[in-house]
């Protein structure tokens, strides 16, 4: 690792720096995207700096300008994944909406975002967690307080009916199974189950069943209309 770095520094003196049309921000994003894609294709452990450099169409020097090593780039990929899914969920509903409505819309948006970008789903399950179990904690911190806030917004703190951490783990298993079955593009099919899991910790079993029924009915309606 250290060797690459020093040779990188030497070449950066000789080569012209970043072309003016590709700013450093988009360069960094391309590296992160290449990391997400490579992890999805061949696991984190099998991913090399060479893969990322080739995927991002940048030089090794440029990689080391943005990240000290592969692990730091992976951490940035996890952060990017969380941010993309958070943005998708936040854009799908408006503040002050009924918690059930907000969860249905937000969950649909997250599943659609993962279907459109299978690498995101891949980074939430399987070998990405094996890289560092703390990744699970990062995902939960990004998800569970936001869910709780939807219910507490209506009046004071809420009491958990079931363990939200377990619900999150169950959602991960269902998503992993959908990926394993080769149906990543059809992740939105899991909507009734994931909505149930997202509602049940703070909304309770009955409310979760009701919200799950609503998305299932909506799905049937749209099929009938077609």
């Amino acid at each position: 690792m250290q060797k690459h770095r020093s040779s990188g520094k030497a070449t950066s003196v000789l080569r012209p720096s970043t072309p003016p049309d590709i700013g450093p921000r988009s360069q960094r994003q391309r590296i992160v995207d290449a990391m997400i894609d490579s992890c999805a294709e061949k696991t984190y452990a099998a991913t090399t700096i060479t893969d990322i450099v080739a995927g991002a169409r940048i030089s090794r020097t440029t990689f080391y300008k943005h990240f000290p090593d592969k692990r730091a780039c992976f951490d940035a990929a996890i952060a990017d994944c969380i941010e993309q899914l958070r943005e998708a969920a936040a854009a799908a509903h408006t503040p002050g909406e009924e918690p059930g409505d907000a969860v249905r819309k937000g969950t649909r948006a997250v599943l659609e975002a993962m279907a459109a970008r299978p690498g995101l789903a891949q980074l939430m399950t399987g070998d990405a967690i094996a890289v560092d179990p703390l990744v699970i904690e990062r995902y939960r911190k990004a998800t569970l307080p936001a869910l709780e806030a939807l219910w507490s917004a209506n009046g004071g703190p809420v009491q958990a009916h079931t363990d939200p951490r377990l619900a999150f783990g169950q959602a991960q298993v269902l998503i992993l199974n959908q990926i394993a079955t080769g149906k990543t593009k059809r992740l939105p099919e899991l909507l009734p189950e994931i909505v149930y899991l997202a509602v049940t910790p703070y909304g309770g079993h009955e409310e979760a069943l009701e919200q799950s029924r609503l998305v299932r009915e909506a799905a049937t309606d749209s099929v009938v209309r077609r």
């Binding site: 967690i129 179990p133 377990l166 783990g169 298993v173 009734p192 149930y196």
Partner: protein, 218 residues
């Protein structure tokens, strides 16, 4: 090649390079290689493990290895098949018997937790290392998850949940709970999950009262 579950349990229990009883060392080369791939991949990670590492741990020659296995992955998957079959045997023995479903479910969970806590290396191999082999992991996960759900359903006696995919959610809950303990290095303490896990697996099917009763006798 016949490998009985009893043999398997004996070889997966010992830990450490020098803790192996003599009879184990004398076992078939295949079994020694399977035991070695578990220990070596857990210690070094699948990607960094070489066939040479497995040979060194097993005390088996390269030629014998390639007579038995195509490559590192083939050896890894053979160990996985042997272990998952053993786990299923343990569960079937206590789950598919006479008696009310909640009690049998608790016993099945108890056997599962017992199996994973008996040897933390094996637990880590099955739940964590296997996920790092790349695309070959996907059909395995799919098949094993389907198999677990089929077994869960086989032992049920007509309890009807309100949610369509309740069986997937119940098996998913069990897997998620065990996975988390194992990935955090707490496999040895898995047994303490039994009351909570019993409650969580049963409640969608039998309601709170019965689930609590089954959990409290855990």
């Amino acid at each position: 090649m016949t490998e009985s579950p009893e043999d398997l349990r004996r070889w997966r229990l010992p830990r450490g390079r020098h803790g192996l009883p003599r009879e184990l060392v004398e076992r078939s080369q295949r079994e020694r290689l399977l035991a070695a791939v578990v220990r070596v991949t857990v210690a070094n990670g699948y990607e960094a493990t070489t066939v040479g590492d497995i040979l060194g741990e097993a005390g088996v020659g390269r030629e014998s290895f390639y007579e038995l296995f195509d490559d590192k992955l083939d050896c890894m998957l053979a160990a996985h098949r042997l272990l998952i079959d053993d786990l299923e045997q343990q569960i079937r023995g206590v789950y598919l018997v006479d008696g009310p479903w909640p009690g049998r479910m608790r016993e099945a969970l108890s056997a599962t937790l017992e199996w994973f806590s008996a040897d933390p290396d094996t637990a880590r191999f099955m739940l964590v290392e296997l996920s790092t082999v790349g695309p070959a992991f996907r059909p395995i996960f799919q098949a094993e998850f389907a198999r677990a759900i089929a077994l869960f359903e086989e032992g049920m006696d007509g309890a009807k949940p309100e949610l369509a995919q309740a069986n997937e959610l119940a098996v998913g809950a069990i897997l998620a709970r065990i996975y988390e303990e194992v990935v955090l290095g707490r496999a040895a303490e898995l047994r303490r999950l039994l009351p909570d896990l019993t409650y969580e697996a049963l409640v969608p099917f039998v309601g709170e009262e019965q689930a609590r009763a089954a959990a409290s006798s855990a």
